[in-house]
């Protein structure tokens, strides 16, 4: 349910950009969702629909999934986050604060927690499409 908080961020940021760019309406908002955070797409989608502003009346919210790609700083191993290997409590913690992955996950090759989250961390605004008054 904290997906609502993140949805608010998307709506607010999209509104800011639309204003900056002088859009009179937004037709599409593309959001990338990193799998590390295990966001519930349905809830995020629902929240976005509920929170849409008048500028976004007809906007389509497109959610894209980005696999959580991790890379070990010690041995160079790259791997993809798989929530199945993680307990429920740990999974919930990572859902709230993805960085605690460093607490619960380690490199499958050398066991180090000193890895980089290359991509697929959390929620990012990928693009906004809209119409300008003179279009």
């Amino acid at each position: 349910m904290h997906e609502w908080a993140l949805a608010e961020g998307v709506i607010q940021t999209a509104s800011g950009i639309a204003e900056e760019q002088g859009l009179e309406k937004i037709t599409e908002i593309v959001v990338r969702i990193g799998e590390l955070q295990q966001i519930e797409h349905d809830i995020l989608q629902f929240a976005l629909e509920q929170l849409r502003t008048p500028l976004m009346t007809d906007a389509k919210f497109t959610l894209e999934t980005v696999p959580g790609k991790l890379k070990c700083r010690i041995c160079g191993e790259e791997w993809t986050f798989n929530p199945k290997g993680v307990g429920e409590e740990e999974s919930e913690a990572i859902h709230f604060i993805p960085e605690v992955a460093h607490v619960y996950i380690s490199c499958p090759s050398c066991d180090s927690p000193d890895f980089q989250i290359l991509e697929g961390r959390g929620v990012l605004l990928a693009s906004i499409t809209g119409v300008k008054p003179d279009d």
Partner: protein
């Protein structure tokens, strides 16, 4: 690719009247005990208070206040649980009692997330306990938390003050308001800290003595409030506006 979180932070904090970061360039000077007792003191005075522990490696406020068995509720974000009348949030909820080997960039990301999703509601005061140093956590609260003011803690040791002096220089350069400097663990009357603080252009708030009895009260809020430390600290805190 735009991060939608930073823009949320001011909205999450808009119900908070005053935000005080308890900080020191130096470790082990008493930041966490000051942050914890300042929150207790403000709650006792009838304020609505929040306490946010941003020291991910060595979180201590939950140990000092004996906070255990609580977890934030998920509701359009996360709601800080209430302990001793204080709305409380800490990384320990998510890292449990395990080591959190986070590099600076991850600390930064985690702090942005916590600030963006935590719903403090209306608060008179939010106290933030920072890790030692001038690294990501300190730079990020300065960057993201509008109107934040710093309460700086030092000990009477030259080793501590030399670092605190640098921190005061930095805060001045960044135009971050400094409430003043607390001298903690004072053992004998000395004007070493007060003279230096004055010379460095900050307000000296007073000294809290070293208290032999403090350690036994760690983890027990009621006993903490009966310590010499708490009496001296409260007196000092009541001069803070």
């Amino acid at each position: 690719m735009i991060d939608p979180r930073p823009g949320l932070i001011s909205r999450r904090l808009e119900g908070v009247d005053e935000i005080i970061a308890v900080s020191s360039g130096k470790g082990g000077v008493g930041k966490s005990i000051v942050a914890s007792t300042l929150a207790l003191h403000l709650a006792e005075k009838g304020h609505s208070v929040g306490l946010l522990d941003l020291d991910f490696t060595s979180p201590a406020t939950h140990v000092i206040l004996g906070i255990d068995g609580l977890f934030p509720e998920e509701e359009y974000g996360i709601l800080p649980p209430v302990a001793h009348g204080i709305k409380y949030m800490s990384i320990t909820f998510f890292a449990l009692d395990k080591p959190a080997p986070l590099r600076g960039a991850d600390v930064s990301d985690a702090i942005i997330e916590l600030l963006a999703i935590t719903r403090w509601g209306d608060l008179d005061r939010l106290v933030i306990d920072l890790p030692p140093g001038l690294g990501d956590a300190t730079l990020d609260v300065i960057r993201f938390v509008e109107g934040i003011r710093f309460l700086v803690v030092t000990t009477p040791s030259k080793v501590a003050y030399e670092t605190v002096r640098k921190q005061l220089t930095l805060l001045k350069r960044l135009r971050v308001p400094v409430i003043g400097v607390v001298e903690n663990m004072a053992r004998k009357p000395s004007d070493y800290v007060s003279l230096n603080v004055e010379n460095d252009g900050a307000l000296y708030l007073g000294a809290i003595g070293y208290d032999e009895g403090l350690e036994e009260s760690i983890g027990d809020e009621a006993r903490l409030k009966e310590t010499k430390f708490y009496a001296e600290a409260s007196k000092l805190y009541s001069t803070i506006n």
